[in-house]
């Protein structure tokens, strides 16, 4: 009897509580700006998925607490369609019409460059999660991405430490590989590697200044016979390695040719900066065992945070009902985790600032106090809008995962490397 009475009481009480909850329950709009169609869709859809996962996780944990109110996240998803001018239009729409508090988005550097003026003009806020070439710092963008000194230069340090003396640079012909290789060229010179030990060729301007280092192929290139023959001669002395910034599916013919030429990772390892677990799903990984990768997150990390993250992600995939999310054969990789970290860093900054106002949130983020124990380890936002985080070197395994070989703890992100390297090189001479 007593029990029933309680039940009678509990129902209206709960109803009241829910309704009062709903009153306090406001929503905040967050923009998601990725290519969901076109050539980049294969990579960028994964980022949309992980963002939805993060939003659902936050919403089910009570949302974002600002003052005494808590806000649920209402994602506004727009499709950049791998069309760079369209990215700028969509960004404008998100900020001016939808009035989103923050936007998570972009993959290619050219899409970021295209939205940058929009975010600066309308004072929006963008979190950018994919490894990039640096040489940029906008007050309206936070880069959770790997800067060159959080991926390329640690990889080179590792290879130098392993006794490698010759470096062959090869990449796809666009801004990220060109800039990264130019930085690496100068970095290698600074570390005592002579010019003739940097392979792939140099291009100089009329004044004789090196403007491009390394060998470049167009997107979708398939014939790597000459290049691999060139690498093979370069590596004949047994102390060479290849720095690979080839993007997209040209990597498959490249690695097949490397294997066919008998260049094993013990003679001449290839370290790739654009191949993470997600890309490895469609690569012939059996032929690539032992090749190197360098990221700030690997799915094979054994930290408790990563285990929880992967378990929650799997559970979410099994239960979610968002349209267009592929459920089978999913892998998690660094850009996805950095997107996820970005959401939590922003949430904490908003809660600390007590407002969604862009200037206030930026001030909190710039203070250097905002950090988050992400799946890849602790990540802290620096005053220069980049992040301090762990960098890992891993070698590819046949199952498409990485075995972690070395960890660089808490590396701070530095966007402007070229100028410093130029100065050091000049003073050295």
């Amino acid at each position: 009897m007593k029990k029933t009475l309680l039940n009678y009481l509990a129902v209206p009480l709960a109803a009241v509580m829910i309704s009062s909850h709903a009153h306090a329950q406001d929503t905040v709009k967050i923009g998601v700006l990725h290519s969901l169609s076109g050539t980049m869709a294969i990579s960028e859809t994964s980022l949309r998925d992980v963002l939805l996962f993060a939003f659902d996780e936050i919403n089910s944990a009570g949302g974002i607490k600002v003052g005494d109110k808590s806000y649920k996240i209402d994602p506004v998803i727009v499709d950049g369609a791998s069309n760079w001018p369209l990215f700028a239009e969509k960004a404008k729409e998100l900020i001016e019409e939808d009035k989103v508090a923050v936007t998570f988005g972009c993959w290619t550097s050219v899409s970021r460059k295209s939205v940058l003026p929009v975010f600066e003009k309308d004072n929006g806020l963008l979190f950018y999660p994919v490894q990039y070439e640096g040489e940029e710092l906008s007050k309206n963008i936070f880069y959770t991405a790997e800067a060159v000194n959080q991926q390329a230069t640690p990889a080179v340090d590792y290879l130098l430490d392993q006794g490698k003396k010759k470096f062959y640079l090869i990449g796809t012909d666009y801004v990220y590989p060109q800039t990264t290789d130019l930085i690496l060229y100068k970095y290698l010179l600074l570390h005592g590697v002579p010019v003739e030990n940097i392979g792939g060729g140099l291009r100089k301007d009329d004044a004789g200044k090196v403007i491009s280092a390394g060998k470049y192929v167009p997107f979708g290139h398939t014939d790597f016979q000459q290049i691999v023959a060139d690498i093979k001669q370069f590596a004949a002395s047994g102390d060479a390695c290849v720095i690979n910034t080839i993007n997209g599916d040209s990597n498959v013919p490249f690695f097949k040719e490397i294997v066919a030429a008998g260049l094993t990772p013990s003679d001449c390892p290839v370290v790739s900066f654009s191949l993470a677990e997600d890309e490895l799903r469609s690569m012939p990984t059996k032929d690539m065992v032992g090749e190197l990768g360098c990221w700030t997150y690997f799915m094979s990390l054994k930290t408790p945070e990563n285990k929880t993250f992967l378990k929650n992600w799997d559970d979410w995939l099994a239960t979610e009902d968002h349209p267009g999310v592929v459920k089978e054969h999913r892998a998690v990789d660094s850009p996805m985790v950095l997107s996820y970290d970005g959401v939590y860093l922003w949430k904490e900054a908003v809660e600390k600032a007590g407002t969604f106002d862009v200037d206030a949130v930026r001030k909190v983020l710039e203070s250097g106090d905002m950090s988050f124990m992400g799946p890849g380890g602790k990540i802290t936002v620096q005053s220069n809008h980049h992040c301090t985080k762990n960098v890992y070197i891993g070698e590819t395994r046949a199952n498409g995962q990485f075995k972690i070989l070395k960890t660089f703890d808490q590396v701070s992100g530095e966007p402007f490397l070229l100028k410093g390297l130029d100065e050091k090189l000049a003073s050295g001479k």
């Binding site: 010759k166 470049y216 016979q225 000459q226 001669q233 066919a260 008998g262 469609s282 054994k302």
Partner: protein, 584 residues
Amino acid sequence: MKSLSIAAIGGLLLLFGPAVVAAPVTTAADDLAVRTKLAQAILGEGAEQQKIFGDLADSGSKVVSDVLLAWTHDSIYLYDAPDGSKVPVMLEDQMDADGKARAIRIIDGKFLTDGTGKELRFTDSDLNSVNTDMRLRGTIQQTLDMLALVNPDTDARQYAVTKLGNSQKESYVPILQARLAKETSPTVKKAINEAIATLQLGDSDPTLQAAAAHQLALLKSIGSLDNLNRLANDPKTSPPVVQAAKKAMAAIEEHIKWVNFYGTIFHGISLGSILLIVALGLAITFGLMGIINMAHGEMIAIGAYTSYVVQNLFGAGFAFSISLPFGIFGHQLGFGLHLPGLNAGGWFYQSYFLFAIPLSFFMAALAGLVLERAVIQFLYRRPLESLLATWGVSLVMQQMFRMVFGANNVQVNSPNWLLGHFTVNDVSFGYNRVFVIVFAIIIVIGTWLLLSKTPLGLLIRAVMQNRAMASCMGVRTGRVNMLTFAFGSGLAGLAGAFLSQIGNVGPSLGQSYIVDSFMTVVVGGVGSIIGTVYSAMGIGTADQVLQQVTGSPVTGKIVVLVCIILFLQWKPGGLFAIRSRSLD
């Protein structure tokens, strides 16, 4: 040319010649002895440790190299036993669901247990790894290199020798000389001679240095070019040595020129062969039959996907299910297929590609047959409509690939026998490239035999030359058209099977080859099979030569395309223009 052929025979001898090496036979007792030494090395310090390493280097045991390698990777751990002693262990590769693995004791190779005999399991963060520093890692590496010198695998020995040769530590010379006396493999012998000469370049005696440089020139050692260059540019080197080094460099660079020359020709022929197998099907459907078949690329993709499916059938099986994005009367439409796999292993799995080749041909031929019956048979002599219709078909097929296989590329692992290479006089020939050349020769000969020596070929030629006349003579032209188109498509499928071994397999695979195919057929002369052969070889070789000369893959391709445009201005009919009254 003569020298190359001699070298080629030499290379073949090297390849198939006996590479017998007395592998060190270790017994269980020896095993236990080295394991004890290893444990002492891990726990030891200073001079005592150095001495143990010296002993280990002579053991030639695989256990030693495994453990030492794990040590350099920080994967040797110390387990604090309850009695206070430290037990060196390494973790098993196989992990359970929690990421924990059993620990193997270094001292006896048995699993670590607690007092009750229960096996203990750890993650790598549960245990402290044994400390190593730069110097110790250097010593371990050196021990590993010496161990590799007696490795039964020829390639591993050769690699170890090359590495010691480039170490610039002259102390290795006696070790290498001792090894040279025992070595039986000619390739490794050459490598040892090269390594000794390279090390002697750093000697203090100028006569020995000059002799070493001379020796390297004789060996045409590409790998020592860097060392010679350093020596020649070092102000401390005595003038006669500089001269000898420069002479040796000139000789080696001359050698590299020839290596590049033959290499480029080989690359050109192999690229030409790829173009040829890709374009041969089109030479029949477009060249002979006059159908502008924009779906040719998708026929290639069918061949490639067939190889993928066959690979999976030999492995874990293949399954797909698709649901159509629309329903009828409220019912969602969809279908699926599950084919169980053979779970084959070893050589049987490696042979999947041999089954994939004929199947690719039949699947693509079947698709071609359906396409001809459903669409093309209504469009003969209406080239524009056939262009649009086949283009539409190609889009439909691409979408079908996306629905069945997914938008991402699929993994096709090459069988081992296509992965290696052999080297003749420093020019390396990949097995897959040699295979494509042989493959192209076989299908060209096969096509030629079919067209010129069989009754079907006679009918095909009759119908293609004059359809109306052939029909009057009682030839069932519809059937001949159908079979010819299916044959052309089947050839495209063969191309796809091969392309799956060197590149991507994805829904847009066909798109990347369709332009090349048309280009090859048009340059060769529409309607001429032999023209297609010449044009494929010409374009392939020109592309590779220009790439070598300009040093950039893009510039090479642009120059080739410009040349083709100019060539077609001069000879619009292509290389082998067919002059016939029957062509209107």
